[in-house]
Amino acid sequence: MKPAEYYMRDRLHHPPAKSENYKTSITRSPQYALLSLEQSLSEITGPVFSHNDIDPLDNDLLKNYGHGGDPVGERIIVHGRVLDENDRPVPNTLVEIWQANAGGRYRHKKDTYLAPIDPNFGGCGRTMTDADGYYYFRTVKPGAYPWRNWVNNWRPAHIHFSIFGAGFAQRLITQLYFEGDPLIAECPIMQTVPDAEAIEQLVAKLDMNASVPLDSIAYRFDIVLRGRRSTLFENRLEGN
């Protein structure tokens, strides 16, 4: 049978729209209640990507912006699986990442931080998960950097992740943090996440077995998208 609609999103597991300690959210958070919808084709369908959309090197941030050399910084592998809430792999879905360089500076015309731009590092990559939902990137570990929230706020090292899934309802942007980083506990953006268990899901774990000796150290980051019922709603309105 065809899979059908997605499970209701547990909004208590996500950051609330308004988080007083993350100042920008104060004027960018809706005040009225969201309109609850039952899903239609508009929500259970979503964009389909193919390997033709991207290049094989797009997931190698060590090489995809090389201008005659390698980027500065600690060489890392970030890998994992994209699963859904039913523990089923999400195959052939687009995963995009972006990050600061090893000094904590983004290659972005709006970033004015003092740390230097790295001539050999773009800071973005993309890949498709395989049939088992598996993905990997090569990159450098991003640096922490200061930002204007409270005067002395620093972002922990992090990598932004954008994941599509099979339906528009699964669309998700999140961030990966690194196990053991003391700045995680200090970060107002990380603190938007409501509970310790949810925070733990955003912390990639050191994975020595996946590291390449004398080359790159590895971190494992599995991503969970919304699960879905197993029956098509037109046929069985009550679902499972």
């Binding site: 993350y22 809706p30 015309k109």
Partner: protein, 200 residues
Amino acid sequence: MDYLKETPSQTAGPYVHIGLAPRAAGFDIFKQELGWDIAGPNAKGERIRVEGCVYDGTGAPIKDVLIEAWQANADGHYAHPEDGRGVEAGFRGWGRVITDFDTGFWGFDTIKPGATPGRNGTTQAPHINLWIVARGINLGLNTRMYFDDCDNSTDPVLNLIEQTHRRQTLIATRSEGDKGVTYRFDIRIQGPDETVFLDI
């Protein structure tokens, strides 16, 4: 029951362009950026432009928004295997735009979608599904854009909006000029005219 928990969302931050629209960030890296061509040259239907601004709770335009659009073709079919009714070659239905860093203005070119099936045999008026992320938005916001020259009176989603005056926050305004047919659709994240956002 043993279910996994969805990974919590985090803000796309101020530099979302690096990952999802690097040319806007000021550099060229991929052979092809994604999301600039929603309908393709072969698409049926009326060619339209959709434009607008996203405003924050102070009434200021938000200048670092990324918006994704998802829509059906002119027949009301989605380019996805679970629709199954098929679309013309090259029609993708998905687009991605960013706002101008100076003005906060955004726009995309597409075709006007057809009506799509709703639940329980209902029909949804033509609409474009939108998803909005930016710095300060902790979980991407879903909304829909409808067309003011369509019959929206029986649309099952618009009719769910209890405060009837808020339905108009989802309806774009048509005009015709030198650039062709344009629909203006402003989004207000907060404030008395706040756009209706959807929990899907």
